[in-house]
Symmetry: C2
């Protein structure tokens, strides 16, 4: 808290902050896809990376909107936070805010699949095996990439294997400007930790490998890159 | 905190507490059943009911072992807490502690089904639909009921419909002594709230309907019932 205040104080002394006037949309955390009123599918995303980016972006002068799945975290006070549960709710909120956004940082781990049928009452256990039929959720990042006008688009690739291959594929397939990739099975880079080990890839085959650092430091490095990229972009 | 200390102080003045020398095993929270290293299947249990019972039982002099799934809660300091993730881990811990236990209160919402195959690497999304084949987990409560020697067994029924019917069925099928039933769709009785509205059923068709009250108060009422029942039981 005090560190944040001091940080804010010193940041403000120069008056013009690097992300002044920039609207940043950040998504964070997991989504939950219901099976019935009691059970759901989810993932291990803690939201820490996205919340760290939101707080740092705000300190750098950006107007931040944070769209968050269910997490245990306290949202930064300087940020407009919107809470969602499912991938569909996340999609709706992101699309609503997209037109007025300059930069989108999609750090949320949105479910790719959801149960096709959602039972209105708690399912009873009768049988020994059960097939849950899953259908694809809307691919938010793909949709954003296809409808990009002036926005900078930053994605994440949390992988367990073939990290670089999957990250570069995603960068191209989704029409991203940057992708932040990590191997979630590496010690210090997994879900729920306060640290991360990431590599940032850009459209021009540029690649910055960062060592183990706090998620706050990763956020600052990423926002430095974005600030740099924004200099070549006409802000609406 | 202060309330707890005062409570402890006044509770201790009498020296002999109602649950002195009683070993209570309490389970709390949800379980998580992995699909792959990133995704899992879970439920909305917050663990609040179980943690409240653990804290109250400890104040009443019981030696409490709390076996908890992943929650956001701070475990009571006077209680031995063991953390687990999956239904199988929960089962293993419960069975290890069962023989030396006088009372088991199973407030955890243990998954009935888990994915049959767990992928060692993050599954990639290729297809439009996906079938997740689920298999039954071991029914802990049933196992406890079948292997009951001297233990008092208390179960929970969190339902969305036909609450009394399902609760009484479970009481008999699992050889329980008490079952605490609630309708999780009722306002003030759902997951994650600090209050609950429960009905406690016993083996002799006795039924106590409690009004809306805090989970701490529900815990005290339940432990009163248990204390009363224990008077007729030879503690090992």
């Amino acid at each position: 808290k005090i560190v944040t205040l001091i940080h804010t104080f010193f940041s403000c002394r120069d008056r013009v902050l690097p992300l002044d006037g920039v609207n940043i949309l950040i998504t964070a955390g997991p989504t939950r896809e219901p099976v019935d009123p009691v059970r759901y599918f989810s993932n291990h995303s803690s939201g820490k990376m996205g919340y760290a980016i939101a707080e740092e972006a705000s300190l750098l002068g950006a107007k931040v909107t944070l769209i968050s799945g269910p997490t245990n975290l306290q949202p930064p006070q300087t940020v407009q936070t919107i809470f969602v549960e499912s991938a569909q709710q996340m999609y709706d909120e992101v699309m609503t805010h997209y037109p007025a956004t300059n930069v989108v940082i999609k750090s949320a781990a949105v479910a790719d699949y959801r149960p096709k049928k959602v039972s209105a009452t708690k399912m009873k256990k009768h049988v020994d095996t059960l097939n849950i039929e899953m259908e694809r959720t809307t691919d938010i990042l793909k949709e954003l990439g296809q409808n990009k006008t002036h926005q900078l688009l930053v994605g994440f690739a949390a992988e367990t294997n073939s990290v670089e291959e999957y990250a570069l594929k995603k960068l191209k397939a989704k029409n991203l400007d940057l992708i932040v990739a990590n191997n979630v099975t590496t010690e210090g880079a997994g879900f729920g930790t306060d640290t991360n080990i990431v590599t940032i890839y850009d459209r021009n085959e540029g690649k910055v490998e960062l060592p183990l650092m706090s998620k706050r430091e990763v956020a600052r490095k990423l926002l430095d890159r974005i600030t740099h990229l924004l200099k070549g972009v006409n802000l609406k």
